[in-house]
């Protein structure tokens, strides 16, 4: 069942540079969906708009970011359909965020108030959605959550500084999902941690799904090797656009977009076959998002670029079941 449907979502930054206005097209006509029980990986390099996408999907739009257009619908467990882009910020805060869609942003641990114990922070979070909730109810719920996610119950009584990086990140994830939202968005949850603790955070995310504390997860990261460990499908983002979406194994074995291919070949993975073939790179750098090229945004770096690539923008088209790609090489004209 489809939990979240994003169609043609655009969100731009409005920038003022020396009295001249510029629009930075960080998320441009993005369409994606999230099914129940799945982890969707969104991968892309720095500046491709993946963190902006996370904010836009929640409709957490604060200037200079602006909502330009598109539809975001969320189907709740009760079967209600919420159209996020039509709700006011106040409604979103009261009714949607935390309850139906939650986010663990990059550097989420800085959200923990250093002078308050974890249980007190959790109480504040819940209270902002349910005015009349009492402290003991929250405390019990928090303790249950912590133990079922493999953390010690004692974490509730700790101050943030007492938590290590991995533990802190898992605690933040547990608190963000305390109200069992349908959709959880995590933005680079493991990139600040060393490899040994990364795994425990990934396990926590999978536990959330298994225990149905959340129904689906959007996992945003620059690291495909990490994403592939948990994602059932992967979407590749480049310069504000989704260029390819496919099931994980399919996109790894049979990447179609030249960017996806180049990216896979650039990854120095700890595997004998990768050492044998060596790693490659993609020449050039991503275009500026202020005035992105009119055709395909990857055309300037692409070794297969044709005339049409510079003239017309390719749409994201399903070329085989579940495998969509935005590239003129694969679109039948």
């Amino acid at each position: 069942m489809e939990r979240l449907n994003i169609s043609n979502l655009s969100a731009y930054y409005r920038q003022l540079i020396v009295n001249k206005e510029y629009l930075v097209k960080a998320v441009d006509k993005v369409s994606l969906n999230l099914m129940e029980g799945e982890v969707l990986g969104v991968v892309g390099e720095s500046g491709c708009g993946k963190s902006t996408l996370a904010r836009a999907v929640m409709m957490n739009i604060i200037p200079p970011l602006e909502y330009i257009g598109g539809r975001i619908t969320l189907t709740t467990r009760e079967g209600n359909v919420l159209e996020l882009n039509k709700l006011t910020r106040n409604d979103l805060k009261k009714m949607v965020w935390g309850k139906h869609v939650a986010i663990v942003p990059q550097d989420a641990m800085s959200a923990l108030m250093p002078t308050l114990k974890i249980k007190r922070i959790a109480y504040d979070i819940v209270r902002s959605h349910e005015d009349s909730v009492d402290y003991s109810t929250v405390l019990e719920a928090l303790r249950n959550r912590l133990t079922s996610l493999g953390l010690s119950e004692r974490v509730a009584d700790m101050y943030p500084f007492e938590l290590s990086g991995g533990m802190g990140q898992r605690t933040v994830i547990a608190m963000a999902t305390l109200l069992s939202p349908e959709v959880l968005i995590v933005d680079e949850p493991t990139s600040a941690l060393d490899v040994l603790t990364q795994k425990t955070v990934l396990k926590t995310l999978m536990d959330l799904l298994k225990r149905k504390y959340v129904d689906s997860i959007m996992f945003i990261s620059h690291d495909i090797a990490t994403v592939r460990q948990v994602a059932s499908r992967i979407a590749v983002m480049y310069a504000g656009k989704i260029v390819e979406v496919a099931p994980t194994e399919e996109i790894l074995q049979n990447p179609l977009h030249p960017y996806t291919k180049g990216l896979m070949e650039s990854i120095a993975s700890l595997e004998p076959e990768v050492r044998r073939r060596g790693i490659k790179y993609i020449p050039g750098q991503p275009p500026s998002l202020i005035n992105p090229p009119s055709g395909c945004r990857f055309a300037d770096r692409c070794s297969f670029a044709m005339d049409i690539c510079r003239r017309e923008e390719p749409a994201l088209v399903e070329v085989s079941p579940d495998h969509s790609v935005a590239c003129w090489l694969h679109i039948r004209r």
């Binding site: 390099e45 720095s46 060393d194 990364q198 090797a225 592939r228 990854i267 004998p272 050492r275 790179y281």
Partner: protein, 267 residues
Amino acid sequence: MDAILRVEKLSKVFESGFIRRSLVKAVDNVSFELSEGEIVSLVGQSGSGKTTLAKIILRLLEPSSGDVWFMDKNVWKDLKTLDDLKWYWKNVHAIFQNPYASFNPFYKVDRVLNQALKLIGKEPNSEEAKRVIEESLKFVGLGPDEVLGKYPHQLSGGQLQRILIARAWIIKPKLLIADEPVSMLDVSTRGKIIELFDIMRKKYGTTILFVSHDLGISYVISDRIFVMYQGKIIEEGSPDDILLNPTHEYTKELIASVPTLYRKWSF
């Protein structure tokens, strides 16, 4: 092959605290040799002492005990005059993690190349210098118009890092110490830097000590890997040795927890 760099029983102890002294052994009795034209990786997680070790070799940090021998000269005892030091700087060069921090934001990027020319005794304004700069930029795949005359903030991290390699190319050091040179760069551009290291080694016999926390990259580019843990080198060997037959518990755990592209974990 002769060893170009020899590190003997090197230790660095940091003291902290005023009343209750506590000692941290950042580098603990480390010995190894590097031969000409080798790429050797020093891997370990943050706090394992790898950067401290690199700094001691670069003469940026004095060791508590032990010796560093470079081309049969004791780096911390034999280099006394400015000329000795210049000789050392010409032969031992470094590239650091954050390219933005390696450039002075007030000067144009040309300056680092000009300084390199001065170090090898060439006048930066001469015709010859111009030619050398152009050649060096061509070597790293940058157009002179693309980067010369610009300030660091106008260029990307990958471009700046390549300018630093162009500087290394001008100096042609015997030993290049690269401390996390690609970790701040995008994945799709890392391969270019790696390729340049490989050419430096093949064409000019440069020895490269590659310091990194990224076991994947070390595995792909190195001839040998040293695994560092709590200040000690706990394991060394060829990349395939380390990957396929790790002996130390820490290495085993490290390898098992690095996510890979074509293998999926079960949870």
